[in-house]
Symmetry: C2
Subunit: 385 residues, 2 copies
């Protein structure tokens, strides 16, 4: 599949929805990748199950608080520089790049790198959504080292990090990113094709493009954007999107702490949700949604806030008092919900005192009616009894 | 000249005096280098004016607040690891190592590295004393890049830093050092023999050994340790040491801020200084000494606090209420007092509102009587009119 300017526009929107409020403003990421594609041509998107086992892949990304990433629009060359320095350090040229997360900026950033270098992008990532820390990767969970990694800034500074584990990588790269002004450009989690097949979250890029397409072109189908999102997420390695809430933002609290945007948004119910209140807490990304104190969705499942008219995603840094929004949930792929994975990004890692329950179990009625893939249908029917 | 265990003991003491209160506890540095020399044998100290122009030198050091460096005694392999990683990054093996500063830990650290690797040490450094920041180097002042540099910790983490200038190097390495727990191991300011000849402060290692010897063995000569320090500093590229004050520490204020130990010590005069009060302000190192508000010595000239009995140096982190001390000054070499140099480490850089005046001019009477090297004699006689 070729990714051009039109696919990028859809990707930015769809990835921001998978980004669960994080991953940066889709508009910023889109502009940067579009400019690169207009200059250098379309980019090949590779099926992760069809790449050679010995393919050499260097994922690329930005790091930092989205509030700062959005303000400091880079030239586009910084991330290429990180990749080149890592290639030089390892003595091997990349055959492809890949996202490490799904989000407005980090889903599109590899296309900027790919367009500028002539490399393809692998249709996979390591978060399946956006997450705030570098060890929050299926790559990490299933044994890949994030280091050596290169962090660069737009002034021309770079650091090659060799860490003893991925937690130390996160700690050091975060410290460097803060010193670089709060945003940086990253090449890390160098991998072979075989490792992507085994540890990656597959088809997250093309799914994001499908979700973005669905929203942009819903009108042509006579359906609402939300209905179309529900349709295109069904029968994927993710699960069918579920409408969770509709309402008006009545309070928002947000601060940048240790390089993260941390906070909470309160939404007062409208329509059938009138009289209820939804609270979403976030650390760069939306982590937990509660209605009147009851958990209705939690990390790692995706909680996304969309504007009520056009179903466009609103990232945490763009939330404002008075916005009328709808909140949706998207079940994450099974590779993200294993016990090993939940240790890294389950609610307890973020300081909550409860375990993860899949959206499908929190909303049995909806998912009983939803058309699930046969193997999931069976699994959840067993769990539901 | 060979440096063995006995020379190291003198070096640690003498370097801590040149260290101006900074550069870490001489005892910690000495123990580490002694262990390495006992295991691996003596180290060759090279005359900087007799090394080949194309010699490839990788200086090594520790970085961090001395209060933390003293608490976290390393295995000795960390600094070797930094050097090895820098060699690998540059694709060239070091022919020698060298100190980047004169101080209790950083004068002895290169001997630890040298003993473990079989390399010689060049008898020079880039600070001529201790200073708190990485761009405070004659190497920097006269055009050498500190980067690429490697920072490592004792856990096994390393960062290779490539910065656009030496200020950015300091900023990034400091941030990484803080994340590494406040102390780290450094290889930086890679240089050729020609560059050391042109930009280094020569013979600072052997001078420190002479000063340490003088203090340790003063009794044999029938002179006081202080008299001996005055003798051995005379007729060197430094200037003759001057006794500045004697008294009792009556107040001390010290905090660790942004990776630095910052503070102030108050000393109440004894003997002929009775009725006066000396205030020394420091940032890791002693920067300015004032008697009753009048500057009597300032950075870059060396201000050292010695215990009154044995003239052993007391570093800023070891100052305690009630200690009876003497304070001495040592004029620094001319390469450290040029207008370019004073821009980097003159009093104004540290936030003081006055310019540097050499000890020789602040204490005309003493230096009129002192036997100065002929060319200095002439220069200062002219300045004194």
């Amino acid at each position: 599949m070729k990714v051009g300017v039109d696919e990028l526009e859809s990707l930015a929107i769809g990835a921001a929805i998978l980004g669960a409020g994080g991953g940066g403003d889709p508009y910023v990421g889109m502009l940067m990748a579009m400019r690169a594609i207009e200059e250098h041509g379309e980019v090949e998107l590779l099926d992760p199950n069809k790449i050679p086992d010995d393919m050499f892949i260097i994922p690329t990304a930005m790091m930092g608080a989205p509030t700062i990433m959005n303000e400091r629009i880079p030239s586009g060359e910084e991330t290429v520089r990180s990749m080149r320095k890592l290639e030089k350090h390892l003595g091997r040229k990349a055959d492809a790049t890949m996202p490490i997360e799904s989000g407005g900026i980090n889903s599109t950033m590899p296309f900027n790198v790919a367009a500028r270098t002539g490399l393809p992008v692998v249709d996979a990532d390591g978060m399946g959504r956006a997450f705030p820390e570098l060890q929050m990767e299926t790559f990490h969970i299933y044994g890949i080292s994030g280091a050596p990694a290169v962090v660069s800034d737009e002034r021309g500074n770079s650091c090659i990090i060799e860490s003893v584990d991925n937690y130390q990588l996160e700690w050091l790269a975060r410290g460097i990113t803060i010193r670089m002004g709060g945003a940086s450009h990253l090449a890390e989690y160098v991998m072979t094709g075989e490792q992507v097949k085994r540890t990656g979250i597959h088809y997250s890029v093309s799914l994001a493009i499908k979700i973005g397409d669905a929203i942009r072109h819903a009108a042509k189908t006579g359906k609402t954007p939300l209905e179309r999102v529900m349709e295109v997420t069904e029968a994927t390695n993710y699960g069918k999107a579920i409408p969770l809430f509709r309402g008006k933002i009545i309070d928002i609290e947000r601060q940048t702490t240790a390089g993260f945007a941390v906070g909470r948004v309160e939404i007062e119910g409208l329509d059938e949700y009138q009289g209820s209140r939804l609270t979403i807490t976030f650390q760069n990304e939306n982590l937990v949604a509660k209605v009147d104190g009851r958990v209705i969705a939690s990390v790692p499942d995706i909680i996304s806030i969309l504007d009520m008219e056009r179903a466009l995603p609103i990232t945490t840094e763009n939330l404002r008092y008075g916005f009328r929004v709808m909140v949706i949930g998207i079940p994450t792929p099974e590779i993200m919900r294993t016990p090993e994975a939940l240790k890294v990004w389950g609610p307890r890692y973020f300081g909550y005192d409860f375990d993860f329950t899949p959206l499908e179990l929190l909303h049995r009625e909806y998912y009983r009616r939803a058309r699930l893939p046969p193997e999931k249908e069976k699994k959840y029917r067993e769990q539901l009894g």
